[in-house]
Symmetry: C2
Subunit: 582 residues, 2 copies
């Protein structure tokens, strides 16, 4: 390909909003261009590469038994109502109404659509398992799109959904997909860290994220320090907590209320009472459309909403309003604690003005069990209670794993080494969905005895654009991008230094000979200064550069430069062809 046919769309300036290398370099190298917040145009090099990655994904998915289909981007609201997600998806899902007043959403994901499709086709267990996938456009109305292709609004995703007669079959496909994803990312030259969130004692369905370790990652990962034997890796949101330092049982003290005027945070009260945060009980209150959830945990820990959500029933999970907090605790926010609560566990809260009845649930973190001498809100404005004792002042039916683990905690898998924290970007996710969608959408097939049964499902996603961006995060230097061969738009960037028509003709012949030999060459035949071409060649980052300069015109020697190592060598055209030709 010649630059006069396929324009080089590099630009000199970094985009103003670029905070990360991939956003900066993909823009400057002319792979993408921002049209609006979170909306990117793929320019010729970028789209070529996007399609190369699509091909790698398609080949590996097909090898693993995937069946490719294509669902509409627009999804009927009716299907989202069937699954219950029309209510729960929140403002990230772009909704709209057609000219006949029928509701639709731009698909942020396609579980509903694919389950509907399966229901139009599947009749018997004999048709199972089946793993349907597509490579298609998704839209998520991110509140704050950023980092270029890493968190944008419209993007292409490979999403696969499998249907099975039983869990064993789901396990097999899940395992096949894990292998498939490893092959895909390997072929893309991308180093990923598979994070197995189910290796601890979390229970529930399996889920594995393919993370690209990166400082700019939005996910925090906890890895077992024993990377040789244990290898435990987990998203912080899901890591089971075994504290690195045990919480002291404390000594029995009498209960007492102390005045803490306008001191609402644990830090403020701890400083006032000269106590440490771990001696506090942190109280966090949420609502759903069915429940009020009051969670109690040690004062030095963050609550993991992901863990808490395992124990809720309703939809529309949100922080509780002041009205709800007052109704449950009798105090304004900042003074909630486990004693003097207005409603008993599993009691009903009637919100008169909202005409709603909710069940109030108190959930206690396991790290409060058996402890004395604790401090919590007094459920009375401007007061805290000291001397709180579990089993005497509050007696939970059950304890839960609610607090977030952190660096230094004990690994929940080997129960021995400590956890260390790192950050990562999720590029792929494989997930055992269970029966959630197949049940909600009444997918049913006949089993071996001719009786109706509900298939169990898995889902498996890869973001194509995010894969491109993370390849750049891992493969660049101060001059530009350094593409792995398998995904680079072209293998060779050819620069000719000829000035007069005769020299240009000679160099044009090199291009033609290389191309005829099956080498993927981009020939920068622009009328630009050599320096511009060298800079662009480094910036766009194809694996090899071939420079046909004075030496070639005089002695037939070409300069071959390895973009990654910057090593240069002199070669003849014949050597080049024998090395890279097919």
């Amino acid at each position: 390909m010649r630059a006069t046919n396929l324009p080089v769309m590099t630009q000199k300036e970094d985009p103003k909003d670029a905070q990360v290398a991939s956003h900066r370099l993909l823009t400057r190298a002319g792979f993408i261009r921002k049209q609006a917040a979170g909306l990117y145009v793929y320019l010729p090099f970028g789209w070529d590469m996007h399609r190369k990655i699509e091909t790698i994904i398609r080949e590996e998915m097909n090898r693993s038994g995937g069946v490719e289909v294509k669902l509409p981007v627009i999804t009927p609201g009716e299907l989202w109502r069937q699954s219950g997600r029309w209510q729960t998806m929140g403002p990230e899902m772009m909704r709209m109404t057609d000219r006949h007043s029928i509701e639709f959403a731009l698909g942020p994901t396609h579980e509903e659509s694919i389950t509907w499709l399966a229901s139009t086709y599947l009749q018997s267990y004999k048709q199972l398992p089946i793993n349907l996938y597509q490579i298609g456009t998704k839209y998520r109305d991110e509140i704050r799109p950023r980092y270029g292709l890493i968190r944008c609004r419209e993007f292409v995703m490979k999403d696969a959904y499998s249907f099975h007669a039983d869990e064993t079959s789901l396990d097999e496909t899940y395992s096949e997909m894990r292998d498939c994803y490893r092959r895909i990312f390997e072929r893309c030259g991308l180093k990923t860290l598979p994070v197995e969130a189910d290796s601890g004692n979390m229970g529930g369905s399996g889920s594995e994220e393919f993370m690209v370790p990166s400082e700019i990652g939005e996910e925090t990962l906890l890895l077992c320090e024993d990377e040789t034997n244990c290898k435990y890796r987990s998203n912080v949101e899901k890591t089971s907590l075994i504290p690195g330092k045990a919480y002291p049982a404390g000594t029995s003290e009498p209960l007492a209320d102390v005045e803490t005027p306008n001191q609402k945070t644990i830090e403020e009260v701890a400083s006032h009472l000269q106590k440490s945060a771990e001696q506090f009980i942190k109280t966090v209150i949420y609502t759903t459309d069915l429940e009020v959830i009051v969670a109690f945990l040690p004062g030095d820990r963050n609550l993991s909403e992901t863990k808490l959500k395992l124990h809720i029933e309703g939809a529309n999970f949100d922080m509780a309003s002041e009205t709800v907090i007052r109704a449950v605790t009798g105090a304004r926010p900042g003074f909630a604690g486990p004693v003097r609560l207005k409603i008993e566990h599993k009691g009903k809260l009637i919100l008169e003005d909202e005409k709603e009845v909710k069940t109030v649930k108190y959930l206690f973190d396991k790290n409060l069990q058996g402890r004395s001498g604790l401090i919590g809100g007094a459920n009375k404005d401007d007061f805290h209670t000291i001397g709180l004792q579990e089993g005497r002042d509050f007696t939970p039916e059950q304890f839960y794993d609610l607090a977030e683990a952190e660096e230094g905690d004990i690994c929940p898998k080997c129960n021995k080494s400590k956890l260390k924290a790192t950050r990562g970007i999720e590029v792929g996710h494989i997930f055992k969905l269970g029966y959630k969608y197949s049940k909600a959408m009444q997918l049913s097939v006949l089993d071996v005895n001719g009786k109706p049964m509900t298939p169990i499902m898995g889902c498996y996603g890869i973001g194509v654009g995010r894969t491109i961006a993370t390849i750049v995060e891992q493969n660049h230097d101060d001059k530009g991008i350094v593409w792995p061969e398998a995904v680079s738009p072209y293998l060779v960037y050819l620069i000719g230094m000829g000035k007069n028509p005769e020299e240009k003709k000679v160099i044009s012949e090199i291009y033609e000979k290389l191309t005829e030999s099956g080498i993927s060459v981009f020939f920068d035949d622009r009328d630009e200064r050599a320096g511009v071409k060298f800079n662009d060649a480094d910036l766009v980052g194809f694996p090899y550069q071939v420079i046909a300069g004075k030496n070639f015109l005089e002695s037939g020697r070409l300069e071959l430069k390895n973009r990654r190592t910057q090593e240069k060598s002199e070669v003849s055209l014949a050597e080049l062809i024998s090395r890279f030709g097919k």
Copy 2:
């Protein structure tokens, strides 16, 4: 590929809403499935084929110098406001507002987006011409989606947009695209009729539609009967009118009003007065946001809105309201004519209640010139005027070509033979856009003298799904689809009749040997009755069927069936491989 890996998703029943062969057969053959009105899922065979056609389009576009990019499906409302189409696009454009109250539209087409993209890249005439294209999703909120893939709401389109320094360059690319489209449709095995709307004397920018002649087509075409020499073909909306039978000049008569109570149509009045429709003046009134347009034409002709639109300035073209009609004519609808009008040509109409001022324009069709003894509305309730004479009772400044041509009229190109009518489906369109978008969106480059100039544009579209559907319209029989080889998902449909494991193994080996020889084979290895497989093989319509039945197991002979001709022959495996293998 084996049916046990890639499921055959045929169905026995015709879809209830299917009115045309392609909709019926693509659904029954398991290529597509309807999810909602105008929204279709592509099933495995269908998507395979869609991608094959995409590849043909991509290869031919690249061969013609096209540069592939990818624009977001979501388009910023701001760009549509710049071009003025935010107002004029109507309800077919699905609009939405993001969580930050910013307006967007699902792109029904991408002129605005691509012109914006060009403006971020083009700086100099040296970068011209450039022909940017994409293969991407479009959405049009059709009021009445129908005919399956022929008129759906979400679909994939190849849309190309070219930018040029001058008209000569645009003409070159336009001509290159015409050749490119011919190659594309030829490779798809689709017979198209290029309809050149600019071959007559219409003037204006060039435009050519690639039509598939079909009874179910929504477009009416007029073709010159002299297909050997003249070859004129035009969309009826654009055909210049040279009447097949000249309108009589008529004789001068006195003007008179006649009472025609409640007779609003020309048919009613003609019958009442015992006159023919061609002696009438038909009056049709439209409004835009700037104008009231009153068109006069012979009573036996339909107005061509396409032609009329060449002479309007404002947006929001629509039929006039009764208020406007009364204000301009002084009568209620049904009694409008060229005399006693309340406002002069190019006079102002002030609509008090709407606080709007519009320019009133009277446009006369050229077939009214020099005629006498005409009948028209009297601009007085329940009255018509007889004896109307052009040049005496009404005196147009200018005459226009406004009336629609019809079968039997004279060909405007050869001015000799007659036109005949046929119906067609548009699958491709090439169009000289001129400066409309580059001007509106202030696209500017520096010319050879370093001064700013506005590039001229062309655009070129192909609907991929509609191409698939029209291939089926042209290639099917009562048993199913008959795919052309170039686009068929597989070349050969292999049916094995083996029953016991040993026989099955032998047939499985045939499949493997054919596949190893590079033949694209679909092996129906389902546990189904032979009749089911034969029917499905005919329905899905791959070009060849190979049946390994008793003969093969006994004597090594396979049955080869040509799907199109239904011819059967006996061949050995070796013969098959030598015929179809690579």
